[in-house]
């Protein structure tokens, strides 16, 4: 806020997948190891991020006081984190049908409240984990910030508060949340919808999806012969094609079949909706060396020839 007329550029938006930071199938259970590793990777990536010319923070002054374990210099380009719910909130939401709306019904209201208690618990844990690594993380709950839907589609956002936080050197941490819906009373706003809106608003240099598998495969990774898709190119219309490896059309067809691909088509379409904006998306396994490289934007240079993950890029933008 020291100089509201200059916006600090956003370098990278990170999606912390619910499946990566929680044990998706056991109630409100954290994947502490991956959360810790991811926090350390984020710190490293923030430290390596390009400096930005915004006069918001005095680097000299800041770095002088930082030192080991201190906070990251906010004179670097900003990062934004959005995490999913995983095993936090998911059960409460689905059992009460929050996404179907109807706050007239006590059961739905109970589910709405229980879902928020659970997802905000996870948000608090994530913010604390990042802060413990010296990252100036601040939680911004979409419901509290006024994000809402209309017939389940994003209706009102609050990009302004995220920008204000970035501009003073803070790292906003948003999350999938139960929100109000102008048509059906309430609904679930997914982290993916939030990421897409933020990517559109901030035009980051790249977006990273941290997940619990090595990237996107042509079929469930558990299946024999599952092939990791290295590079997918997306055009303006959102249509995409796998350019590496070269696949037989049959496999490509399978890739667009929701039922047989373990949701990989959904993953691709989420990434494609961002890549079509001209922003590259790196999908990679959380807590790995490849995740760190992705967070640093190094998915191509020689030192990372063997980078393992999926690049979903715009047909109009090279890496």
């Amino acid at each position: 806020m020291e100089s509201q007329n200059v916006d600090r550029p956003v370098h990278c938006i990170v999606k912390l997948g619910g499946a990566a930071i929680t044990m998706k199938n056991s109630f409100e259970t954290l994947n502490e190891e991956d959360l810790l590793l991811t926090s350390k990777h984020l710190r490293e990536a923030i430290m390596a991020a390009p400096s930005c010319k915004t006069p918001l923070l005095d680097c000299a002054d800041a770095t002088e006081e930082i030192g080991e374990g201190g906070l990251e210099p906010a004179c670097r380009a900003a990062f934004i984190v959005v995490h999913g719910a995983g095993s936090f909130g998911h059960f409460q939401a689905s059992s009460s049908g929050v996404n179907k709306g109807g706050l007239r019904r006590a059961l739905v209201t109970a589910g709405f409240v229980a879902t928020r208690v659970s997802v905000t618990k996870l948000n608090h844990i994530v913010v604390r984990a990042l802060a413990a690594e010296g990252i100036p993380a601040v939680g911004i709950s979409p419901f509290a910030a006024g994000w809402s839907t209309s017939k389940k589609s994003l209706d009102r956002d609050n990009v302004t508060e995220v920008r204000r936080a970035c501009n003073v050197g803070l790292l906003p941490v948003l999350h999938g949340d139960a929100v109000l819906d102008s048509q059906q009373g309430c609904s679930i706003l997914s982290g993916d919808v939030i990421i897409r809106r933020l990517a559109e608003a901030f035009q980051p240099n790249y977006v990273v999806f941290l997940t619990n598998v090595s990237g996107v495969f042509d079929r469930p990774p558990t299946e024999a012969n599952a092939v990791l898709l290295n590079e997918i190119v997306v055009d303006e219309s959102g249509d995409w094609i796998v350019v590496k490896p070269k696949l037989e059309s049959s496999v490509t067809t399978a890739a667009s079949n929701h039922d047989t691909t373990g949701g990989m088509a959904t993953k691709i379409s989420e990434a494609a909706s961002i890549a079509r904006l001209g922003i590259n998306v790196y999908i990679v396994k959380a807590g790995t060396r490849d995740a760190l490289q992705a967070l640093m934007g190094n998915v191509r240079d020689t030192s990372t020839k063997h980078w393992v993950g999926t690049i979903v890029r715009s047909a109009y933008r090279e890496l």
Copy 2:
């Protein structure tokens, strides 16, 4: 949101004093007993609140599904809770001088982040405690909702999100928070400032301050001969006079002396700033029968002849 054109009236705004729900002098320690009792009292008060005519929720439908332990019928007039920080956030904020601002300095940024981690932790605990009693509580962090200050004075609020939550039958829970400041970078927004703004915006029937002593005394309650002030009358200018008990002027003078009264003058002026709006304020010890009576607005009827607490009322409004 089912009918945005009708605003649900706000019956009562409750301040949960930091000294009442936490052990003020031991780091991040809860006063579990008082929080539990207060949650039960709030549930009882909400159930007894007058019905409002807003068609927002179908009472028949709602009550049918509620039953013991279920959620409160949202067809009743709304309650709003604002809690202080007590031993959560206070230490982090004061040690780093967050209220003095200067996010250019890493120490202040660290303090800002640590303060928010601590106060949001308490907010989560309070929301969970209320929800456990079947109250549809939702946390609304002022920072996330966009409340901010300018030279430490409230600059931007977000009453809209609080109203939206009330309108769909939820009970918003706000708290004192570290916020951005357009002049000095950051500052502390106290729960009292938030309460005053909400009282102004919602014109509740009354406001209750739940604290850790029986009310406001003419000197520190620990002192011998400390006299509980039963009734204080406030005029439009905010000037106040103790009408019960009748005090010798000397004592009244003492009452306005910040140094010798254990902050009671501050307490009175906070309450007076609300009472001057024509809204009565009841200051009472949390967890007591008197607190329950205050939350129900019964500080005068015969059944509560012996109500113990301090009434700060407008000269232009009877009880």
